[in-house]
Symmetry: D2
């Protein structure tokens, strides 16, 4: 049976699954689960088209990896068939460990367990099931494979992951200014001393890439309304866990209930053999179904927050350049009290936070540019105007969000 | 407060909400629910990008309505501001009555209740809440408004509903051959004797529209793999209802449980005041959460089917030009029996069906072409080659789908 | 020196020139000339974006050829490196023999010399210059290469030439309904018994391709206004030749003057060694520069027609289903006479013609579909509805165009 | 007769001509001439798709103007019908005064006559022909119309001219990173105290706009290969004029010959009534036809340069950060002498130049941002990171181009 397959993709036209191993990975329940986890979590509350999944993103990143490696081959670099397959496998699986609404969930239910760690647990489990066929892929993912550029294409400031997600998020949100020209970027890649580099003539493309990334952060990933919705879901989960731990029986799928009731650390995945299976049972539907079930729960805090989120009656949110002081917070708090919120419920309806962003981090593994004279320069040094320098600046914003129109149920 | 708003849409760029009424409708929980109902149900199993919702489709159809009415105004037709708003409101709300996985659900849980009827119940309920602000919109929707073309733009063989869904489905599936050129179609519309007509120079565009529609049917809406997945979900719901009615307690959100346990008719929506509220509680998450919950249910039929669907281990499906006879069915049945399926379980793992399609129905309200000499012709008569005639032919296909690799759980 | 090169293309993103031979061909003056010949001649008079050249089209067809051959390789067909290069070379050069405003010019100046014949003369000349490096390409072009499918990909009803020009013409005119989904078409190609075939699952895509082709013919290639402009340019050239032959000195580049003054046949290209060089000197600029020069020529017919064409004051044109009789022509003729046109000038200001089109010609080398059972069927027999049948029907239209508002100069 | 018309545009879909006046302007020979002048001159030598004309650009800018004014109307600003038409007329005509290969020609043949001045001469001439129907448009163009924002939309750092040309040039070159998101930009425009401003929430879009502009400059407008081709055409015209002035008879259309043989200043357009008519006779074809005619001229410098340009055998070009000194120039000069170029011919085959660019000029009329608190800030002050500051920096590059492989003819 020929397992090669072509998948339609509005972003790239078609994505080819080019080997039996890749087909088997896509077909595996671990990977099929990603069909039910949206890449951008709650972002469709702002951008209604942003419903694309981690499944599609992972396929897209695999596609870019295959395109990029072919471009490198055409420049004369030797890349063996098993390397080609392993690099695609590694990028395909790089997001396996994400739970639903990843950043929200990780801040409440799986605190202290990085999704990358779970990814690795799952990749190793898959490797066992597949008798070692993922050995090289895992080395590339972990960064232990000798040819360094493979890891850089999987995880760096210019990896196929970022290229696909910026491309795809820009496409599905409709924020077309965020488009990065992945086609051209890929044709500008090269290898020098086993490092991933960019040809000098790709300098403008990289600047555009970083600029687009910055734009996407402020326009999409850190959009005020999205931060507000995330804050609400976070408070819902805090309350649910609080009630759960206090013995309250909450509506939830069995797998989700388990994570609501227990606090797990990474090592539990080793000692509790079925924990990985349970984790693999989680997706967006578990969270939404619970939110829907909880909207009629007797606890007024829980039911009010759920009803609000479902009907897009969101917290009001304001940004500040410094942490907001009592002169800002006190009046909000009073308004909530006036609305009938009790002292001990206040924290569920008023949340402060901060958010930071920079488009390019000089201190990390840099983006290297290969100048025409053969020298390798950090992109920040290669550019002829201070734009890149500007993009390395960290921008930090503080916010308060609160339920301006809360009316407690029950 | 200014309620005008602009919404990003990858398909059209931007969609404007151009009045307070429209804003209030979009903001209403009835409409927000559509955020959680995918336009194409299970189709993302074949086309992973096809995750767009009825929410986005309804906004898109409203956008096309506004564009089309403006084009008609520019051609000198008088259209009053309240008509402009009402037509947009009507098309915005036209799909309110859809449940999740509409065709599947309606075949099991709400048999005999057309979604259009529920839409009308909900529109009337909204009209009450809004003190009659939807009077004209409802007339247009029902076809009682005197100027006939408004209804035709909401519901006919050339309505804004079809234009948006073909456009949008083509876009998100990536089946670009299905693109209909909505821009040009809209510019070709005209009004003659209060009927919606197409200018003669738009003939080729209409042919292309019908051709694209046919292509989308076979390539997307009636795709074999999708029919197979739908058959599986149908069998899951049949089994769940059977168990429910037999008194078994099944995991479900409260609203979904209600529909699983009871059989409702349209009149129940009048007599049970909270039934509409419960219906409005249903969305895709309820169904998926139950499928996830049921995958560990003790009933082997239910759990097996759920596990299969979740992991995309689908029924095999074959098409036939005539209803398949025993020479085809018997061997399949025997194979299932060999695999350990009991006689009384067979019907859950082997399903026959038929599917029909035609791109243009002559007997319905026709698409009228205004010839240069002023005559109105049915498109099928106006075209100079028999293509359109060909597109009126009903194509009927029969299928069998069955669980080739079923291995019953438990 | 590395001659590989990447060329930007708004249609496909990037086009790669993948070998030294291909680079040398692109670089050759014969091919660079195509930069100055628009693919659609006068069509920008209707579609102002339709300015793309035969140069870009030839590169695009080469790109599709490379994509298609790679897709066939991935399906397991052996295609040797020299074949890959030769097929690309052949399609790259397939339009070398086109003059400017090909159909117009061939009807007046090079009557009886098919552009394909000149292409072959030029390919053979190039082959001499390149010491036989085009041997295989020429065999493929002529159809004498043993593996038949190469020729079919260069010239048949489903060749890379058509795919690119439909795609490209649709893109640059903005007639997006003419888009053919070349990506998918290419992935549906296969080889069976050395013939080019389409997989059965590509049936809908082929139907769409033929439908798009028909639409492009009526919407673009045979657009009324374009036919009218072509008729005017034809009459301009007729008059210019008449004057030239009568010894009048007309403004023209030396190469163009030679073709205006002499009537050549194909054999002259053999006997007059510099004729090919002169032909290669012709491009759109020669024609336009002359039209501009002639607008102040003392001959009132010539100058009037040139002025009219330059200022887009075009003949009026009407279509008829039968050849127009005297009851139609006589009044037009009288109107022209009333406007001061002399009897012997009439033919320059009133032109009749006919135009025919069919989307698919059954009697030619058919498009073959490989059914799932392995049978090869003509597409017209494989389709389940009579659409294709309909598309084989020849549509014939008759037209008259005439200078409604002519006012003779001088 | 209804003169309203819809024109296909691959960039925006459709462009509407919305009034009789606008139709008459488009139809006028002055405007039709722009069909034959490419927007980007020689740029198709690098980007083969870049063949779009000033005609299409002017229509596109008119389209954006109409979209922008409608968006302003929707925000509650009163804009009268005659203003709407005048602003569209003004932007439609803003490039009338461009000759073919504008920057090249102006540096040789019309030195000291800015194309804006000729535009104004032509607008005033049109206004006379049209009995004053362009009065307001001319005021807006000149900046004397009281409502200042109209002029800013026609000519400023955020005018519809730039928006369209960046958009269009990005589209036709295929440099998609240069896309500016004109749709969103337009929705962010507002008016404050009769000045054109941008809403604060459009800040990121403006940054993206400036960034895209910078990218387009270096990637397209100042592309090395394009600068080289322009240098060659410049030298060709210098030589042709030199020979012309020396009494040599050169092949040229009558209108082009006139400009080759005479040196005109702006005032000549007043005193020589037919000079404007002659200017209006010039387009790209005159230049190319002459280059083609001159390739067989006896002067070896002229014929060699023409042959080289036609066959894309271009000067080699190098960039420097400082003006190149003798250590760079002398060896090149010697190489040319070795190749048989005479001393007095050297200047035709070796050219130095400089090129500067900045994305945003602070000292000019700034782009104003309307902050949420109502304040107007210069974009460079409103942005939270120093990107914009960086974009104001002038970048200056020096180049030498020379005929590395020149072999003199004859």
């Amino acid at each position: 049976m020929n397992k090669r397959k072509i998948i339609n993709d509005p972003v790239y036209g078609f994505i080819s699954i080019s080997s039996d191993l890749l087909y088997d990975l896509v077909d595996h329940p671990y990977f099929q689960r990603l069909r039910r986890i949206k890449q951008l979590g709650l972002a469709d509350i702002v951008y209604p088209g942003a419903l694309h999944t981690r499944f599609h993103h992972a396929l897209g990143a695999m596609h870019l990896m295959s395109q990029a490696l072919k471009a490198l081959q055409e420049k004369g670099h030797m890349i063996w068939e098993p390397e080609l397959e392993a690099a695609q496998a590694a990028i395909l699986l790089h997001d396996l460990g994400h739970g639903p609404f990843s950043h929200v969930l990780e801040s409440v239910l799986l605190t202290g367990v990085a999704h990358e760690s779970i990814t690795l647990v799952m990749m190793k489990d898959l490797n066992r099931q597949m008798n070692g066929r993922l050995d090289i892929a895992i080395q590339m993912f972990e960064g232990t494979y000798p040819r360094r550029f493979f890891h850089q294409m999987i995880s760096s400031q210019l990896d196929m992951d970022r290229m696909d997600y910026l491309n795809r998020d820009s496409f599905y949100t409709g924020v077309i200014e965020g488009s990065i020209g992945a086609d051209r970027l890929i044709k500008m890649l090269d290898i020098s001393k086993d490092q991933l580099v960019v040809e000098e003539k790709g300098l403008l493309s990289i600047e555009n890439f970083l600029h687009a990334r910055r734009l996407m952060y402020w326009q999409v990933y850190l959009h005020k309304t999205l931060l507000s919705a995330q804050a609400m879901l976070t408070q819902i989960l805090h309350r649910a866990r609080e009630l759960s731990v206090a013995g309250e029986k909450l509506f939830a799928t069995p797998d989700f209930a388990r994570f609501l009731q227990n606090e797990y650390s990474l090592s539990d995945f080793d000692t509790q053999p079925d924990l990985l299976r349970a984790f693999n049972g989680l997706d967006d539907n578990d969270v939404w179904a619970s939110v829907k079930g909880w909207k009629s729960h007797p606890d007024p805090v829980l039911s009010t927050l759920c009803e609000m989120l479902l009907n897009r009656n969101l917290f009001k949110i304001s940004f500040y350049s410094a942490p907001p002081g009592e002169e800002i917070l006190a009046p909000l708090r009073n308004r909530l009290l006036d609305n009938g919120i009790a002292e001990n419920q206040l924290s569920y309806f008023m949340v402060t936070g901060e958010t930071t962003n920079w488009a390019y981090a000089k201190e990390q593994d840099p983006i290297r540019v290969k100048m025409k004279n053969g020298n390798l320069l950090d992109i920040a040094d290669a550019s002829d105007i201070p734009t890149i320098e500007a993009l390395t600046k960290i921008v930090r914003k503080y916010y308060v969000c609160w339920g301006k129109n809360v009316s407690l149920r029950g």
